[in-house]
Amino acid sequence: MSLSMQKARDWTGIRGFPNATQNKLHELLEKLKYDKVNTLTILVMGKGGVGKSSTVNSLLGERVTYVSAFQSEGLRPMIFPRVLAGFTLNVIDTPGLVEGGYVNEQSLDTIKRFLLDKTIDVLLYVDRFDSYRVDNLDRQIIKAITDTFGKKIWKRSVIGLTHAQLSPPDGLSYDDFLARRSETLMKVIRSGATIKNREIQDYDIPIALIENSGRCTTNDDLEKVLPNGICWIPNMMKTITEVISNGSKAIYVDQKLIDGPDPNLRGKIFIPYILAFQYFFVVKYIKGSIMGDIKKEKKPLWQLRDGF
């Protein structure tokens, strides 16, 4: 774990961004500082191969994790703290959550333990923009995340969709495709996190589009821009800061959260009442029906016709 724990360094990578982006980021950080937020911890999670590490690289403007197209990802989570003018940005990269078609609880377990005593401000759940369908596995992942960190984490999360520079199929407009893709994904998240219909308002999970490719189009200010004209890096940071200030609480990972609520303790104090209920209602009821059976029992005539 010591390897993955890095000392807070100055955020030099920000200088690699185009000026316009830098300005926007500075603005956002100033705003956060104004709100008395001095640290921001972003947890990046998702299936393997969707571009988590690349996103981390893009976000920090540094090549912090080694990404190659065919190599499987790192096996343990890594935290990258960066300091800029008294503000600390922590980005946590995690291994993929899927293995062999199932949710890999082991890696989830490692992530949990890694996060012990840390506060997660924002969960960046990463998936690909250009996949067209969702399946049960997606639901399982959402469920696993929910079971680990609690349902509340979805109040503090942003969906990041990578490979956002695409031309939608079937002549759909980009915005239509975005709407459809986010809708299907939202459905899965709602079902996986058991967000009920009336809670949708409380769990309004924003979507941020991501394009990590070096061939991403740039605008006049050399900012990376998406087909819908949005500069995604500042836009994503903006979405993140909005989530932070939406009034929900950051998730603090303590031992209790890792262990989950102990189901063996739940309801224990009610046991005497349960026992009393069982005795007075269930046992007595069954006893009563036995007595009823005895009374109702059809006796053969010879038993009724007694010999005096």
Binding site: P263, K287, D293, R305, F308
Partner: protein
Amino acid sequence: MAFCQQFLLGSPSSVYVHPRLDRTRRLHNEKTASSSSSSTSIIISASVSPAPSPSENGKSKNIFSVRRDSTKTVFLPILSAVSGLLLPFVGGGSGDGSSGGGGWFNFGGSGGGGGGGGSGSRPCLSYAIASEEERSTWDNHGLPAKVPIALSKLSGLKRYKVSEILFFDRNRKVTVEGTEDSFFEMVSIRPGGIYTKALLQKEVETLATCGMFEKVDLVANAKPDGTIGVTVSFVESTWQSANSFRCINVGLLPQSKPLEMDPDMTDKELMAYYGALESDYEKRINRSRSCLLPNTVYKEIVTMLGEEGKVSARLLQGIRDRVQKWYQDEGYACAQVVNFGNLNTSEVVCEVVEGDITELAIQFQDKLGNIVEGNTDLSVVRRELPPQLCKGHVFNIEAGKQALRNINSLALFSNIEVNPKPDEKNEGGIIVEIKLKELEQKSAEVSTEWGIVPGRNGRPTLASIQPGGTISFEHRNIAGLNRSIHGSVNSSNLLNPQDDLTFKLEYVHPYIDGVSNPKNRTFRTNVFNSRKLSPVFTGGPGVDEVPAIWIDRAGFKANITEAFTRQSKFTYGLVCEEITTRDETSCICKNGSRALPSGGLSFDGPPTSLSGTGVDRMAFLQSNITRDNTQFVNGTIVGARDSFQLDQGLGIGSKLPFFNRHQLSMTRFIQLKDIEEGGKAAPPVLVLHGRYGGCVGDLPSYDAFTLGGPYSVRGYNMGELGACRNILELAAELRVPVRNIDTYAFVEHGTDLGSSKDVKGNPTEFFRRVGHGSSYGAGVKLGLVRAEYAIDHNAGTGAVFFRFGERF
């Protein structure tokens, strides 16, 4: 002919019905007896029937019969002295002394008429002997064929073979083939029998005195083959018509002393004599108890009386048959119509000996059948007897059968007999005799076996050959109160018994509230150990084999069972046990494991024990109440069965386990069609079943509820659907007999109610199980084996399963 006339004239018209009357009844009894004897060595006294045939009457043991061959017999013919005409006649022997229009009627036992009689008192017996001795030789009648011969003209020296019997009713002028006439049973002559003139004459005499006939005589017809045919020509007795009927139980009435009749009485004295008789009879009727006969039969008989007009002998025969049939049908095997009184009045009185029990005797026999003093406390047997079998009740064969079943369920006796016996000291009474052969009190058994396990290439290796065996002992019926100790030790490898030694030692103490207390509570305590494969650690579909976890339990239990009925009971007690979880190599293991895709094993699965060490100790209260009113309707189970089981942790043991684990299951067997009970066809039945289980508090994984399996959701393996804290199972099954083969179709669903995550380590998810599932299918029952095709609804695939026993 002339002789006959004379004979008739001289003979009294007072009467005695031939004992052979009872022949049909007797056969009937035999039938009941054979059907009642069960396949084990228990006989509900097959002996419940009297002698099979009249000829053997004298020799056979007459266990059931109220009648005996002794001369001091039984039912004294009673008079109904009505309307001065009627004639007193008391006892067969003094028959000659009476005269006049006979008014009574006796169906007494063999020799019944023989109060003081000589040879005449036991006619049937003497005939029988005669016919037996002379079976082989007979004489040709030596007369021209087709000539009617009066009985008196027959030679006294010849032995005639009777080849045919005809009845000629002089009133109706019809001749009937012997066997088809209802009077046939009155006659002791049988076609094919050999009779002398004396015997035939005696027969006529008997017939004449039986009260059925006003006139009767025999005419012989010479046949061409040297045999003779016998024609009984008769005029039936008739009495004044009656419009009411009364049936009384004269079973235990003391015999009324016959009044001496002086032949020199004056008319006045005669009148007084009749008056006395009449009032005597009146008193007798009043003292008698009313019969069990129900109103419906009464009404039937009154209708019979109304239809006939005059009361005739045949009508009385019919009434007797009807009454006796009712008693037979209802199981009153000892009941018998013995007499009709009050003839020639408007009320016919039917006297019945119902078979009142005067004594209940319980005897123990040794292996040779000698009566011995038993070890068993009599009250243990007595509490199993239906009250209807006790003194003062009328003997009913069903009560006898029930006693037999109840005593048999004690499992203390190798042979049980329930015999009704006539009471020698108490005329008309029945002694119910229960004969018991006790089982050996102590028994021990050793059985051994060899175990061979195929080795690597399929061949068994020498090392795999293991001697195994079981040693068990039992001490039954301690102190004669059905207490018992039973112990057994079993190992499949006697060379290394520490590997898998299972033992059990149990002590059972029934009747803790006292043997005479109707409350039936049994105390049981046992020391046990067991080893079972845990279905909690089972993989879901598509998961490679999950390393097995064995759950070893050792401890002791003490509980009290209160039986409300034979099937419904309430058990409560304490369990203290140590649970050890082991892996396949018998090492204690703390966590479940599963194979990783890389081929390795991950040992970070759900904890196997509550303490986390692989060894738990705990004490808890366990109680179970079961209500079961199911019964068999033509071999198919119908009724309701509910059961509630509760394990209440006490906070005693490793990690202070405190929990409330409960299960409620309800099953209904609904008969869908009304059918005649006792028939062969079983009714179609709908079975509805629901089971809820839950646990609040500490729940070690071995106590989690598992879903899937032949007794949970069919079509899945044991535990294939999950292991959870709360469980709900619903099932419906339709059972339809098709040509005597039981077929069924079922639908089942089981769900963890989302509670799999509430089991520590979530074994359902860890082993990639769904947590819920449905199945449906159909099957047939082939004896004990169920063959069924079940479709697993999760995967959508089906498979054929063979299972033993019932699902519900």
